[in-house]
Subunit: 344 residues, 4 copies
Amino acid sequence: MKVGIIGASGYTGQELVRILANHPKVEITVATSERFAGSAIDEIFPSLKGVIDLRLSKLSVQQVVRESDIIFTALPHGESMEVVAACMKGGKRVVDLSADFRLKNKDLYERWYGTHTCPDLLSEAIYGLPEIYRAEVKKAQLVANPGCYPTGAILALAPLVEAAMVAPLGIVVDAKSGVSGAGRNPSMTNLFCEVAEGLKAYAVAQHRHAPEMEQELSARAGEHIHILFVPHLIPINRGILSTCYVRVVGETSTEQAYAVYQGRYEDEPFIRLCPSGTFPSTAAVRGSNYCDLGVLADDRSGQLIVITAIDNLIKGASGQAVQNMNIMCGFPETMGLEQIPLAP
Amino acid sequence: MKVGIIGASGYTGQELVRILANHPKVEITVATSERFAGSAIDEIFPSLKGVIDLRLSKLSVQQVVRESDIIFTALPHGESMEVVAACMKGGKRVVDLSADFRLKNKDLYERWYGTHTCPDLLSEAIYGLPEIYRAEVKKAQLVANPGCYPTGAILALAPLVEAAMVAPLGIVVDAKSGVSGAGRNPSMTNLFCEVAEGLKAYAVAQHRHAPEMEQELSARAGEHIHILFVPHLIPINRGILSTCYVRVVGETSTEQAYAVYQGRYEDEPFIRLCPSGTFPSTAAVRGSNYCDLGVLADDRSGQLIVITAIDNLIKGASGQAVQNMNIMCGFPETMGLEQIPLAP
Amino acid sequence: MKVGIIGASGYTGQELVRILANHPKVEITVATSERFAGSAIDEIFPSLKGVIDLRLSKLSVQQVVRESDIIFTALPHGESMEVVAACMKGGKRVVDLSADFRLKNKDLYERWYGTHTCPDLLSEAIYGLPEIYRAEVKKAQLVANPGCYPTGAILALAPLVEAAMVAPLGIVVDAKSGVSGAGRNPSMTNLFCEVAEGLKAYAVAQHRHAPEMEQELSARAGEHIHILFVPHLIPINRGILSTCYVRVVGETSTEQAYAVYQGRYEDEPFIRLCPSGTFPSTAAVRGSNYCDLGVLADDRSGQLIVITAIDNLIKGASGQAVQNMNIMCGFPETMGLEQIPLAP
Amino acid sequence: MKVGIIGASGYTGQELVRILANHPKVEITVATSERFAGSAIDEIFPSLKGVIDLRLSKLSVQQVVRESDIIFTALPHGESMEVVAACMKGGKRVVDLSADFRLKNKDLYERWYGTHTCPDLLSEAIYGLPEIYRAEVKKAQLVANPGCYPTGAILALAPLVEAAMVAPLGIVVDAKSGVSGAGRNPSMTNLFCEVAEGLKAYAVAQHRHAPEMEQELSARAGEHIHILFVPHLIPINRGILSTCYVRVVGETSTEQAYAVYQGRYEDEPFIRLCPSGTFPSTAAVRGSNYCDLGVLADDRSGQLIVITAIDNLIKGASGQAVQNMNIMCGFPETMGLEQIPLAP
């Protein structure tokens, strides 16, 4: 199958190329970049030297449509929507890695991101978290690939919400992310010296991934779920650790909570439960599509602590996008994603 | 004034030597280490080369008592208590950096740390957080220097608790610490490769610094305060960021909460409030005795987020110990602690 | 094919398991560890959770011989030699990752490492650098897998030495290594805080990998080649960068030197030349079996600078061991080693 | 004394403010920044909060001349020269941290940096390495503060060159630098993710600090000294380690070489020799104005290895600038620079 990548020169683009280059069923036929059009991909990413023969081109939607069976869009939010619409008009299936089609509500989108010019596609887009929407993804023409933070938080919280174990108010998601989530653009705040040997929160209770978490968890709950979301920037390249604090309705024990997760995720190929009472580390998922999860009940305060670890560029972005593609195309869901975590 | 340091070969010992070597009113007359007795201090810590002429000796309490006016003990918990008792019997004042005299309740101590053989000193020890116990520290013979995590958490929460703004149940302290808090002993879990490029929680809801936080905050509140404490290990050398989530009694705004902190801390030389609505970074306090603090009210969930940043080896250990010594001795409280944070 | 791994709980053992678990032609049937016997491999290495069902056992050479067709030994030097001898007596082929069979000269070995109790096997062992000894590896019963530093240095220098372009005296290899090369044992010098935000040389002109470089380069040259080898410890997990300075016999240009490498390595699947005049980065080979190489002639001083980058745990250890296994067994040489570098 | 800082919003500017704020004899009266004019210094650098009350202004040379007794210029090369000339015309003494007045030869400057519009000042400027030019600095109106790499390399090599122990051709300086040397401007190549967990050489044999080293060492030698200079980028914030390889004229031993350094540097307050046969680490000088040095003779190849470690922002930039100011003003040379290295 022929694959096109629109916006291939950021970290998620690089990661798509890396994963797809070893995927047995697909071939990357076209990859675009405005900044680096004309360059071979390995001039931009020396890690890909000798791996794939691919030259970046300026975006022509017509060309991409012509040369691809399925298209990944890895553009910044706002820039993606019209490109996606055009690809769909060309009859192609699209996995969009931007935020443009994740929120169902146009007003909500515009409050956080700016004007939406293709609102009619919002209802058509499937939120591409396979652990929840696998059946819908299978038939979708447009998959909105989840944000990195929402992936970690929703996988942590959905089973509890579905089991009606959670008080809807006051859930805290204290997330810690590596720096690659900030992308590959010139910047002062993400300079090595501004980040290394440091530790800070940012966008406290004001990050635009919060409404995405609330939308999906509220849909699972059948009532509005509020998330207090505080992201932190950590001096590592890859990884998100999401430490979630929830107030339990009624009583529960670590064992009972653990059993809920076991039941919910037992057939999921990319969710790994840590042994009961233990917790995950991002180092143990780095370079893989896994989401590791641990849970503990704190009797004294009636709260559950749930922690997930993902590689933000893989399960939090490009790996999940390929997982969605596999589902859409009827390939085995793990195809091309068997890479074992690289530790240390 | 002559100062003795018992247990000078760990990171807190090194930091004591570094700070005291530049203190205009004191002289280090004796420093002990079982592991490195006989070595010059700069053989153990090349950073101290040419800075101070000091040879480590095996511990003889009699010698230390004889040669010192005031004594710092930086031994592991359990090993400290009898040494402290002996120094006090020798008539000396002591700042103890171990956990041995922080908890007032013998049973509580023994549940978390093991047998306590000098319980009669527990009531005599003053908990050395100057922002709360300055007057008591002044007259103390024994100061129990606070733990690194409790310092960050108590400074974040005490003003709210004192103002009766906090619901006593369900306070969450999600703390992130650099690795130096784990000390300087051979270990597999703290090897560079086990920590770098990784991120994990540990001792989830089971860390022994939680009872210390609860003791002090409950004392401020006049009722039992429960803390759900989850520490995380972060690949940096120095720094603790404590992200605290509290449920407010009644209503409050960011401005009101901010005003509480301004009022409470306006004369404190080592507490710096971030501009309202902004939050601290450990990079901005590294190498200094400062505690930076930010606060935000989340209207939607009725919670406050309070974040503090400290250098765990300074305000979280040796700097605070010297601050206590300054208070005990009637020196200006900031003497020897004027070092401006080193950034980047 | 059935594979045994003796000494599976260090970093090279972990990496062998990771690579072999995805190798289509082999199955790991037995893996030993004295420290962790009885544990499942994913208790020791959570990254391997769900990847492979393997329990560590105490070493019984008989059992390993019985259950394996080919054996990897990843023991410390000194401990490996007798185990290797016993495996060979059992009729098995062995790839030894220790230093025990790399040096041909017993006296030289003993000067650097200690007593050698199986000296008769020294002449039988093939030095497992496929780019030089591919034909010999094919037929070998015992392959001595090269050290990490020698791999980077020999691949940099062998083409020049073979082309008789190098003055034999005064070659400098200034190498920089990540910390995983130091292994996974409790240690003070490799604690995170002793390494992070630091930079130092060690074993200056006295590292035991120097004689290994000299042995192999002298063999290529037909005369004694002296190497001044200075390794440095760098705060990264993986990667060795070897910056080599050689004095040229006669004259040469960057283009001529580049052509020598092109000719020498054009059919090598794991050597990638950087575009002429540019240099490699360890980040671009991390997680792969590649060795990237760049060269420049400095007219003014008549010297060549040659730089190689490898992942010390892969091309510098376990990847190269699997490459040797592939050659020994007649598998495609790149089988199981197609992993594309993970960047960032 | 009143001090002005022109260009205070980069890392060297920040470091000047940090050091001078604690200097007992000076007061910073004016600090300029085009990018951040109007901001308080602690808005740009939160680490300086509460430390100093200073607002950045747009550059007006007249104002700076009026309000300062001595002026530091920390502008990019090319931008500095005319500002320096104007300050001097205003009768002020200047310490220039740019490269604009380091090279004595206009043509050489222009080959590496671009047009020089104030060439008549080149002969007047004193190269501000106090260990060599202390007497001249005392009387200078213009001090050209050395580059970070040249500081480490010249301090390593000058004693050998002065003692005529070195063959003039083929000296290698293999330097490794932290990232702060690259400054605080938006950039893609210095993003955290482009640097962390990586290791590479850059500007190989083509870095513009090489002519600066050659100028100064040739002046010491009385003949042309050629330096093959290869800098490497290392994922740390601060520190340069310079590993120098020199061919000895005649014979020498480690002890003899060590004695040369002892004799040359015995009265230097900021040079620390490591115990004979041992080598420095950047971690042991971080945050200080020290330069640590170690030396070893390699009998086999007739070469000396000399290694220096400095903090590139202090002895390699702002600390050395203050040291020069102290000398110019007749203050004790170490005043304001007594800060003990911060480790870990």
